[in-house]
Amino acid sequence: MNRLEETILYVLSRAKQRGKDNLSKFELFKFIYLLEVESRKFTGRSFFSNDVVFVRQKNGPISVDIYDALNNLDNKYIRISQRKKEDYPYARHCLSLIKEKKTYNLEESEMMFINSILESYLPLSIKKLKNIVYKTEPMLDIQDKEKETNQDMNGRPLDFNTISLDKDVVDLIAN
């Protein structure tokens, strides 16, 4: 199992512990995206060692790598089903765990970092989550390029090198 698959299962498990027994694909994509963004912001490193590529799509960042991971996990660890939730008018693909891993191949502190991310974003509505994602540096960058060139950039990769290190982490390193 690769790091992305481990992380997806951990996110689903943690969400379940925090009272959400399933996540929509939309939520999962955004959580994984925000984990990568915040990892670069707070550590200067890619959480997934640059192995997960996100591209611009109509509803924000999408990753083929996550689709592949979900396919690998489907019916072994997770179930993907169509569900209708209160915060959205149509039924969506939802992911739930069918088998919990006993241990995860992640460091204790990496799991705490994921917990911290989820504590911030798990309670948010789809609309608020989308707003936050659109205000991240890679999304702002590609939207600027769309304006400059007057071109639709759907399908183009997002540039994570646009993410600046958090100013307090810069202070910390400079001390």
Binding site: F42, T43, M111, M112, S116, D168, L172, I173, N175
Partner: protein, 136 residues
């Protein structure tokens, strides 16, 4: 109970466990919450820095008795100490016994940034910085 504690809360432990040695020792102590249970991998644990009445010079935050009346004397948060403690070690006092005020939160964060420069665990550092920034 576990979910309600927040970063910068001050707790009182009947059995505070010093976990950063090979042989953990226990004592009655006040402690400052560095990471709340909601972020820990086991929801009944906390990451704490011990608070002591012993004057501590380095990487310590002085807490005035005049501001935090539950202390008998001026006390010091020792940020060099970092212990994972279960909630079961808390005393019967009403918890949290207090909370850092905003000025002390800012002072604490400055010390945290200095001390976490020395940790090689970047995701621990990132999590602590991220959680403390939420309350600044």
């Amino acid at each position: 109970m576990s979910i309600e504690f927040r970063t910068s809360d001050i707790l009182h432990f009947e059995k505070y466990c010093f976990t950063d040695s090979d042989n953990p020792t226990y004592a009655r102590h006040y402690a400052l919450v560095l990471l709340p249970p909601a972020v820990m991998n086991y929801s009944n644990n906390l990451l704490c820095a011990v608070i002591t009445s012993k004057k501590t010079k380095y990487f310590a935050l002085k807490l005035l008795k005049s501001k935090y009346s539950f202390f008998n004397v001026d006390s010091y948060v020792c940020f060099r100490r970092r212990d994972i403690n279960p909630l079961t070690g808390l005393s019967n006092k009403k918890q949290p016994v207090g909370k850092l005020d905003q000025i002390d939160i800012e002072r604490a964060f400055k010390i945290i940034k200095r001390i976490y420069n020395y940790t090689s665990d970047v995701y621990l550092m990132a999590t602590v910085v991220r959680e403390w920034k939420k309350i600044l």
